[in-house]
């Protein structure tokens, strides 16, 4: 399922313009004042900034995109949200991306190995939670409960970051869990919980938060052993002060941190 959300963010209130200017300067010090270089060349051209980002960033980045556009009305931000691995392959295959925000260092490595990006920065961390249906039918309170054969568990497939993290966490706990399914991404895993098809799943805290009240998240200590780093990089060819660099700066700024924290991420 190549679920891709290509969105054109709408212009947000102008109030944020000042905040953005301050944030951009504060984070790296290398960015020019907002708007001074609205005509800076971008690989995508036409004043469009194309951001490829992990699906778990959908909420936070959409908001940051609005902020960015409000500060720089000459640039519109387009997002391509999806599985980090798929996005990395699309970028390697020549997809017109300006910024890549991945859910794992490994997927970012695919892009840096191809010399398409350099010096990625970790901007967020995501930790796992046990997600259970709101009524918690199997009465789960800790990771050990997942090893019960009667408990139906969904995990992400080991090939995707949330699955790799789950494997690490379970190993750290010394548990053997037999899931009924290895889902292709974290959203699909969460859906199985939302619909009550499984009793529990290991997903990111951010996904639990984004699900509203439909799913309950349970913290567990072993999650600390499986923290997922989210790296971001402007793709090669984007000069300092270009919209790509400025977007990365915005994500790394205190304002970016606020948005990410509100979405359930931890920031480094």
């Amino acid at each position: 399922m190549f679920m891709r959300l290509v969105r054109r963010a709408v212009t947000a209130p102008a109030v944020v313009v000042l905040v953005l200017g301050a944030a951009a300067c504060g984070s790296t010090g290398s960015a020019s004042p907002a708007g001074a270089d609205g005509t800076a060349p971008s690989p995508a051209g036409d004043g469009t900034l194309t951001v490829f980002a992990a699906a778990s960033l959908t909420g936070a980045f959409t908001e940051l995109g609005r902020t960015f556009e409000a500060a720089d009305p000459g640039t519109s931000v387009r997002f391509n949200f999806g599985s980090s691995a798929t996005l990395a392959q699309q970028i390697v295959a020549g997809a017109p991306a300006d910024v890549f925000a991945a859910a794992s260092p490994a997927t970012m490595k695919t892009v840096t190995d191809a010399s398409l990006a350099s010096s990625p920065a970790v901007f967020a961390r995501n930790r796992l939670q046990i997600a259970v249906p709101a009524d918690n039918p199997a009465g789960i309170d800790e990771l050990g409960d997942l090893a019960d054969a009667k408990v139906k568990v969904a995990l992400c497939a080991a090939q995707v970051p949330c699955g790799a993290a789950a494997v690490k966490a379970l190993q750290a706990a010394g548990l053997t869990v037999t899931p009924v399914t290895l889902e292709q991404d974290v959203k699909a895993t969460l859906t199985k919980v939302t619909l009550g098809e499984v009793d529990a799943a290991l997903v990111y805290a951010t996904d639990v938060l984004a699900s509203g009240g439909e799913v309950r998240g349970i913290d567990f200590p072993e999650a600390d052993k499986a923290i997922n780093d989210y790296p971001i990089a402007a793709l090669t060819g984007a000069p300092a002060g270009s919209p790509a660099r400025r977007f990365v700066d915005l994500v790394l700024s205190p304002q970016g941190e606020d948005v990410l924290t509100a979405a359930g991420f931890q920031v480094p």
């Binding site: 691995a85 292709q184 199985k192 619909l195």
Partner: protein, 260 residues
């Protein structure tokens, strides 16, 4: 003869062929031929292939069992709401397969309308089982069979059935000995489409039946997940799926052509 070929037809025909065949050529060119034998020997690959062939075949049988009578109902009887029903039958074609999978969960899932009852009464839960894979594939593939068979029934001459009735054949005998043989080519074409669609099914399967090696991980699911980490492996798996389906379909075609 070659000088007489109408270019207005030939040019788009060749373009169409290229359009369909070139992606296949892309897979062949990019295939990691040197590591191919080793990859094929991986037990997971054979497991997924076996599961794909078995589930697609069972799904096709299910579609035949339910779809042919459904097509007959649509083509040969008149009842109120028949047009609406015919439109509804194409729903799985239009529905994104993932949505189809969610819809199946809402009906047959553990908390689904019917699934709840199945679970409570028989202790049967379909998601995450091989039976769930068959259901997801049959759901998505059945319209191909129904539409094909209904078309065959509509273009067929119903007077043969009348002739059979005047010879003393009951409606069931008429269907079995006259209708079915006469629409056999349509049924076979529909079954082939159905099987091919079931074999390539991804979205509804992974959503409804999940993904677990040996139980519900069919080839398309294996291909998708391989794509996450090892694009080369994904190419290999895709080629295997393609090769097997082409060999099977070509083999069947030989048989029909010689028989009919």
């Amino acid at each position: 003869m070659s000088g007489r070929l109408p270019w207005l037809l030939l040019a788009p025909a060749l373009a169409g062929m290229a359009f369909l065949v070139l992606p296949l050529a892309g897979l062949l060119v990019r295939a990691p031929w040197s590591t191919l034998p080793a990859r094929l020997a991986e037990p997971q690959v054979l497991e997924a292939l076996r599961l794909s062939l078995v589930t697609a075949t069972i799904a096709t049988l299910v579609c035949l069992l339910l779809g042919v009578p459904l097509a007959w109902l649509l083509a040969r009887t008149a009842f109120p709401g028949r047009r609406l029903l015919r439109a509804l039958i194409t729903v799985p074609l239009v529905l994104p397969p993932v949505v189809g999978g969610v819809a199946l969960l809402l009906v047959l899932g553990r908390r689904g309308l019917v699934g709840q009852w199945l679970d409570a009464t028989f202790g049967v839960s379909l998601p995450f089982t091989t039976a769930g894979v068959v259901i997801a594939e049959a759901f998505v593939a059945m319209p191909f069979l129904v539409i094909s068979v209904e078309g065959a029934l509509r273009t067929g001459d119903p007077r043969f059935e009348e002739a059979a009735a005047t010879l003393g054949a009951s409606r069931w005998t008429v269907f079995r000995r006259v209708t079915l043989p006469l629409i056999a080519p349509g049924v076979l074409a529909g079954a082939v489409l159905c099987w091919a669609r079931a074999l390539g099914e991804f979205g509804a399967t992974i959503t409804f039946a999940g993904n677990f090696p040996g139980t519900t991980q069919t080839m398309p699911l294996a291909v998708y997940l391989a794509l996450e980490t090892e694009p080369e492996a994904a190419v290999v798996l895709s080629l295997v799926l393609l090769a097997v389906s082409v060999i099977i379909l070509a083999g069947l075609r030989e048989r029909w052509v010689s028989r009919i």
